[in-house]
Symmetry: C2
Subunit: 306 residues, 2 copies
Amino acid sequence: MKVCIVGCGAIGSLFAAHLARMDDVEVWAYDLDQQHIDAINKDGLRLSGVSKLVSHPHATSDPDEIPACDFGIVATKTLHTRAAIEVTARVFADGAVCSVQNGAGNEEIIAEYVPRVMRGTTFPAGHIVTPGHVEQDTGGKTWIGPFEPKAATLDEVKRLAEALSCAGMETLAMLDARGAQWTKLIFNAATNPIGALTGLPHGVACDQKRVRRLISGLIAEGVAVADALGIELDSDPEKLVDHARDVAYNHKASMLQDVQAGRRTEIAALNGGIAAFGKANQVPTPLNEAIWALIEGLEHSMTRND
Amino acid sequence: MKVCIVGCGAIGSLFAAHLARMDDVEVWAYDLDQQHIDAINKDGLRLSGVSKLVSHPHATSDPDEIPACDFGIVATKTLHTRAAIEVTARVFADGAVCSVQNGAGNEEIIAEYVPRVMRGTTFPAGHIVTPGHVEQDTGGKTWIGPFEPKAATLDEVKRLAEALSCAGMETLAMLDARGAQWTKLIFNAATNPIGALTGLPHGVACDQKRVRRLISGLIAEGVAVADALGIELDSDPEKLVDHARDVAYNHKASMLQDVQAGRRTEIAALNGGIAAFGKANQVPTPLNEAIWALIEGLEHSMTRND
């Protein structure tokens, strides 16, 4: 089995490093970070933290070097989905490609370029420590399933899930993976930008009565859009918010870290994704649109040179 | 005529300094900033910028020193309305008190303590340079009128307007001053916190398509609340936003300056005021509530010690 990881940042590296341990899987990691690529090819890809291992995927920043693959796993930031799949699509001319990215709308883009697509949702998270070395911060499952408008076969979904699970990343093959995806999406869209806009850690934000009400308003819009799409959520996002308050009170949202570092965020695929699917299905999402506007404005002010 | 200025910060000082020039007006300025008070009593109150004058109001931080007054002008930040009128109410036992503060809801608080109330809206703005010295940054008119639930007489409204106009602050006596007040309120609530949350100057914010749409959404809610209250606006807040874009493109919202300096804002009287009047009149104001929540969260994160 040949697998190409498209976007080998922190998340892509978790997938690449695990899969490359398997004797019967040949892994190609595509990324534009030449230092990371060179380090992987020289000394292998090392994981520390929740997973501890070193393995040896092929790594390249040149799509022409990658052979035809059975599977793709797209793990770029949502900002780069189109650019990344555009240059690697040839590799998947007879393959199935799975997004494990945040937000909504990635599979739609991927499906413009490749014949068969899967949607995926993954909970493991990490960060690059140095080129070739990724710290895995959290564990958790991955859910994958066919992307119906241009679906991978269920057999493909199962084969990829089995390979990942065997490699140490527990992955569930689902007929309909939208419930997992939208549960995470709604949770993220209702909490991540609130942290970025207020500067508050998750638990502190939850304890502010008015802020908590805004979180509920954002969730209600997301749930209404999911309902209109016929998606049955895996769990109640309200309960996830309260659970996260209990277990990660002082967690600083990744989007807050992004804006503080002057990086563009994934807002267009999070609140923007909910708003886009809402619009397409006549479900109003004024609060998600407001948050989208504010984060876009904040990104703009952080990149202005004055 | 005896007038007491309640809250002698930048705005209160503009009123105190102008009125104290008049031979037939005795002005008392009440404030808790002892340095400002002492400087005024020692060397007088000096205005520079748009107005250039020095005059000699009585200044004190002790309400017991203030004699019974015919008029009060409340010019504290909206956060301090209740505390300030509570300790000075005795002075106005047979007087009429006018708010010239931002936002909505101040007159309601003042009316709990004094017999006759006026609402007011003022455009002149300034800042304290050093104790006893205020720079007036902008000119403009002031509109005052009876606060109907506990109204000052029209004769009182006219006498105060005439005194202010004679003293150099053009003031219009209105039967219904709500139109001016709500026009300024809706404009402020739709622009000021957007600057604070995004960091963008007014014109740049207006040029961001999604942000401009959010501004329009906030305005629409404010206009709906004003409609429900039977208030006829002085002008279209949308046009004020566009006008401000043209004449003050690089203006940094005062609320942005507040949060950057770690000061609490007047959000509760702005978007919070619109939301409160909306709630009381069954007009939904979800966007104003969202903005209120975010600014409150931002204030909270700026005053946390971690």
